[in-house]
């Protein structure tokens, strides 16, 4: 086998792994977002915060974030906030973002030692499920 064919095959394998992980995580992200939206201090969390709590895979389901930000603007005008938290290489990395695009999400996550936190505990509880979903997606892509 020529080296060029081997290189092309390995590159294709890498693409399949990344794509499979992305698909698997995209399926799990919705469940993760739903669980997070059910957490937090009930009395201290706005409907905008709860309704806009979402998880998505950048590059696959970005519309989820824009819809969440629009929901916040509809409920609490002026309190939506979307910030980039850094960069990643879409050819070699797959991300899941769990967030609520409000100006006060960080405050809710941290005040009183995280008493009203929803994102952090949901991510802790869902980490194994995300790993499993990525592995299942990769397995499906390689069949």
């Amino acid at each position: 086998m020529p080296a060029s064919s081997l290189d092309a095959g390995l590159a294709g394998l890498k693409r399949a792994v990344i794509q499979g992980a992305r698909q698997g995580l995209d399926q799990e992200a919705e469940a993760l977002g739903s669980r997070a939206a059910q957490g937090g201090g009930f009395q201290n969390v706005t409907e905008a915060e709860r309704g806009s709590t979402v998880a998505y895979v950048p590059g696959t389901s970005d519309d989820v974030l824009s819809e969440a930000a629009a929901l916040v603007e509809g409920r609490n005008p002026g309190f939506s906030q979307v910030e980039s938290a850094g960069s990643y290489d879409p050819d070699t990395e797959v991300l899941v973002v769990l967030t609520a695009p409000t100006t006060y999400a960080v405050d809710l996550e941290t005040r009183n030692g995280g008493a009203d936190a929803a994102l952090g505990p949901a991510l802790l509880a869902g980490a194994d499920g995300l790993t499993r979903a990525a592995a299942d997606g990769i397995r499906g892509a390689l069949r």
Partner: protein
């Protein structure tokens, strides 16, 4: 069956057994509290540390992580100059084999935050004790 309560109790008790850590707190061991008291009761002298139990990860047949968080708080006037050494002492209070049948490690240190409810500067320290249920 996984004895979560015993592991959580051990996680909570570890800092009080560390003399350097207790000495670094505002009111000694009285400055070690449950996070449930934050925002409800008068707080002991700062720096203080507050314990919060987090979700236990993993299905029952997997390696599971029993997770807790310590929130280290201090007066904003001190910034993190006293908080950061306490974080190091917290980490030292949890040798990997310190909790029976678990592999324990510091799995995260949070960024500095201003707690708007308490008026204090804080950072979190996440401890995970891995074990098989």
């Amino acid at each position: 069956m996984l004895n979560t309560a015993a592991i959580v109790n051990a996680q909570f008790s570890a800092p009080a057994a560390s003399a350097p850590l207790v000495a670094a707190l505002g009111a000694g061991s009285a400055s070690i509290i449950s996070a449930q008291r934050l925002g409800r009761d008068p707080l002991p002298a700062v720096p203080l540390i507050a314990f919060r139990q987090q979700p236990t990860t993993g299905a029952s047949y997997d390696m599971r992580g029993v997770v807790c968080q310590w929130w280290v708080y201090d007066d904003p006037a001190h910034g993190t100059t006293r908080i950061n050494p306490i974080l190091a002492l917290l980490e030292a209070a949890y040798p990997r084999t310190s909790i029976t049948h678990c592999h324990t490690e510091v799995s995260g240190i949070g960024a500095e935050v201003y707690d708007s409810a308490l008026g204090l500067i804080g950072r979190s320290c996440t401890i995970t004790s891995y074990t098989r249920g």
